[in-house]
């Protein structure tokens, strides 16, 4: 018993130190859950983050530590290395690591788990379409962002172009809100941005958004999902995280969070929701 028990403990300890193996957790444990968040428009919304932390903690029954990093890649790396129990990631990293990641929940935006990519220009720009942006300065959000990079990269790939060949200059602003700021200030002539973020910002920061104009809207793709490692999908924590998001619209605090996020709720989704994203990623990957 003792031996088994000791072996079991050692196995658990060893497993926790190995990359890609989630730490074991039990409901009622005081060990904090780590939950990663990609920078959407949330960067400066301390109150919202606090509400999400409070909500998840309350639902799962354990302290929740929200982990934020500057780039998507950092969150993805933390997640894949087992340092996060779950994360809200972009659909691009999800399709890239679909073999390792499991879907826990997907947001419902305007009644559907879908969103678009916008390509916007400065209000003073004469460009009316994406193709007129050749030779301009372009702002991307993140190299691992579907809307902030992959879709535009895909549009270029089908034109046998790359950002370096098509644009005079391009840079990453690491945040969709930053892309809007770059376009509005004139730092960039145009930028690739999450359509959902742009829409929400139209209400939250109308003056800033008014300085930009959308010249391209992509087809609708699967909304960035809540994921965890496939290896940890059956743990209580993963289940707890999934349940917390899926039940969000049933909870008072959850409704407040959804109201701020302008989302209708979260639903369970299957990988084929992200086939459009995957297709684009494959095209881009093939060109690279």
């Amino acid at each position: 018993m003792l031996t088994t028990s000791r072996r079991g403990v050692l196995a658990v300890l060893a497993a926790s130190m190995l990359p890609g193996v989630p730490r074991p957790a039990r409901a009622g444990d005081a060990t904090p859950i780590s939950f990663g968040l990609n920078p959407l428009f949330l960067d400066s919304d301390i109150e919202l983050l606090s509400m999400i932390g409070q909500y998840l903690s309350g639902k799962i029954g354990r302290p929740v530590q929200l982990v934020r990093r500057r780039t998507y890649q950092e969150i993805t790396a933390l997640l894949l290395s087992g340092q996060l129990d779950g994360a809200w990631v972009c659909d691009d990293p999800y399709v890239q690591h679909e073999d390792q990641l499991a879907l826990l929940a997907t947001p419902l935006y305007r009644g559907e788990p879908l969103y678009q990519t916008y390509i916007a220009v400065n209000e003073n720009s004469r460009a009316q379409s994406f193709d007129e942006l050749g030779g301009s300065v372009h702002a991307f959000s993140d190299p691992d962002s579907t809307s902030g990079y992959l879709v535009t990269r895909y549009l270029l790939a089908v034109r046998r172009q790359t950002p370096a060949s098509f644009f005079r200059e391009f840079f990453f602003a690491y945040g969709h809100r930053n892309v809007v700021r770059a376009i509005a200030s004139g730092l960039a002539d145009g930028g690739s941005i999450d359509g959902y973020v742009w829409d929400v910002m139209t209400e939250r920061e109308p003056e800033l958004v008014a300085k930009t104009r959308v010249v391209y809207r992509s087809e609708r793709l699967g909304f960035p999902p809540i994921v965890c490692l496939k290896s940890a999908r059956d743990t209580e924590i993963a289940e707890g995280i999934s349940r917390a998001f899926l039940d969000m619209r049933l909870d008072a605090l959850g409704q407040k969070i959804l109201a701020i996020l302008k989302l209708d709720g979260f639903v369970a989704a299957t990988p084929d929701l992200y086939s459009g994203t995957l297709e684009k990623w494959l095209v881009v990957k093939a060109q690279a």
Partner: protein, 472 residues
């Protein structure tokens, strides 16, 4: 006072300008330090967004520095990012007309007229330049502060200067008021009225001025006493002259009297002879005529109404009759030339009295057997009388007194005649000149300008003349 105010203002403004410049340097250095720290790493990575984001945030973080724009330039002279991307797009070159403003060496360049300052700071990592921060700062607010301080100084100092000047003026006015009073009364003395300053004017003045007023009043009293005394002396002199004249006149009358008595005796004895009677009667007539002439000229000269206007040639010639006895007494030769042929618009009594006095003086001054010259003529609308004597010459102080240039400290007994002459001539606005001859003697030249106005009444005659007449 204005000079002091200007100097103070200049010192304050120059100090303010220097302090402002030092503060601006300190402030901009701190500003550049902050931006450098924020952008060095992004610049090294060539991160456009991070660099822009740092510059954009600095806008709200450094409210003390009114940056018009900030540019981060890469070593290849191209813009990595600027706070005003529309003006300075990514990867563009800074236009030459703007880049010339920035100091080549790290520092601060000022354009005080334009209200602009340009900063440059090289971003260095391990001694290597990775880029440069260039910023244009609006210093109009600083200049506005300086301008306001300038105008405040001008207004405050101007107002204070004016106030002090007004106070000083009022104070000086008040201080000098007694001097004005004194000047007024001294002016009256010059006009011949020595009046003491009334006691009422002694109030509210300093002790020094009160003493001065007291001394002036003592002086004016002494002057008045002197005037009274002089008038009295003049009257006595007149009597003395009259005595002399009476004696001379008696002599003149006495001379023909012997002849007249002889003629009467001749008539008594040989009156039956017609030829003797006629010649004797003629002799009597001539003798009596001569006596009447002497008497009449005396009356004309000394009668109270003798200051009537309208001087006839005969009025001048009459004087010869009055002087001749004195001349004869001293055996003097009297050269008499009267070139006046018309009646002149002059005061008869005043002119005759002054001339007679000068003639008698000339006789008195000349040694026995000497010569006295008299000339009367009309020249430039004036009667000119020249009297020359063979005397030892008029003492210079008396001569100066006579022509009105000085006050003789003491006038000798004879000098009283000169005092009268001066007053009489001055009263008729005449002028006196005294010329000493090369060898010996003196020539006194008096000119009486013709009076333009109608003949004055007796009441308007010079006070002294009237006094003399009444005393006579």
């Amino acid at each position: 006072m204005i000079g002091i105010a200007t100097t103070i203002s200049q010192v304050v403004l120059s100090r303010l300008a220097s302090d402002q410049e030092n503060n601006l340097r300190a402030l901009t250095n701190a500003y550049l330090d902050g931006i450098s720290a924020a952008v060095t790493q992004p610049v090294m990575r060539g991160d456009v967004w991070e660099t822009f984001d740092a510059l954009d945030r600095a806008r709200t973080h450094y409210t003390g520095v009114a940056a018009r724009y900030v540019i981060v330039e890469l070593p290849d002279k191209r813009v990595l990012a600027a706070s005003e991307p529309l003006r300075f797009p990514v990867r563009s070159s800074i236009p030459t007309q703007i880049s010339v403003h920035f100091p080549v060496i790290d520092g601060l360049g000022l354009d005080k007229e334009g209200g602009r300052a340009w900063l440059s700071r090289t971003l260095k990592v391990e001694g290597h330049s990775v880029g440069k921060i260039l910023a244009e700062i609006d210093i109009a607010a600083l200049l506005e502060v300086r301008r306001r301080v300038f105008w405040t100084l001008v207004l405050v100092n101007g107002a204070m200067t004016l106030a002090f000047a007004a106070i000083g003026y009022a104070f000086l006015q008040r201080m000098l008021r007694p001097l004005g009073t004194l000047t007024r009364y001294v002016e009256r003395v010059r006009e011949g009225r020595a009046e003491p300053i009334p006691e009422g004017d002694h109030h509210k003045i300093s002790a020094e001025f009160r003493r001065l007023f007291d001394r002036f009043n003592a002086m004016s009293r002494a002057l008045n006493e002197r005037e009274t005394l002089a008038a009295r002396l003049a009257a006595q002199e007149k009597l003395a002259v009259l005595g002399k004249l009476a004696s001379a006149m008696a002599h003149e009358v006495n001379n023909p009297l012997g002849g007249l008595f002889n003629a009467v005796d001749t008539l008594r004895r040989h009156g039956a002879d017609a030829s003797v009677r006629d010649s004797t009667l003629n002799l009597l007539h001539r003798g009596l005529w001569q006596i009447r002439k002497v008497v009449r000229s005396t009356i004309v000269t000394y009668r109270p109404e003798g200051f009537s206007y309208g001087l006839a040639p005969a009025d001048i010639d009459d004087l010869r009759m009055l002087v001749e006895p004195e001349a004869a007494r001293k055996n003097l030769v009297l050269e008499w030339r009267n070139e006046v042929f018309d009646k002149l618009p002059l005061a008869v009594g005043s002119v005759r009295q002054a001339t007679l006095n000068l003639l008698l003086n000339a006789c008195a001054a000349s040694p026995p057997g000497g010569k006295v010259d008299f000339l009367a003529k009309v020249e430039n609308e004036a009667l000119v009388v020249e009297i020359g004597d063979a005397g030892p010459g008029l003492p210079s102080d008396l001569a100066a007194y006579l022509i009105g240039e000085g006050e003789a400290a003491t006038l000798p007994g004879d000098g009283l005649g000169l005092w009268i002459v001066r007053r009489l001539v001055g009263g008729e606005r005449g002028s006196i000149e005294v010329a000493s001859m090369a060898t010996q003697g003196t020539i006194v030249r008096v000119a009486w300008p013709f009076r333009k106005e109608p003949a004055a009444k007796d009441g308007e005659m010079p006070a002294i003349a009237e006094e003399i007449v009444h005393a006579g």
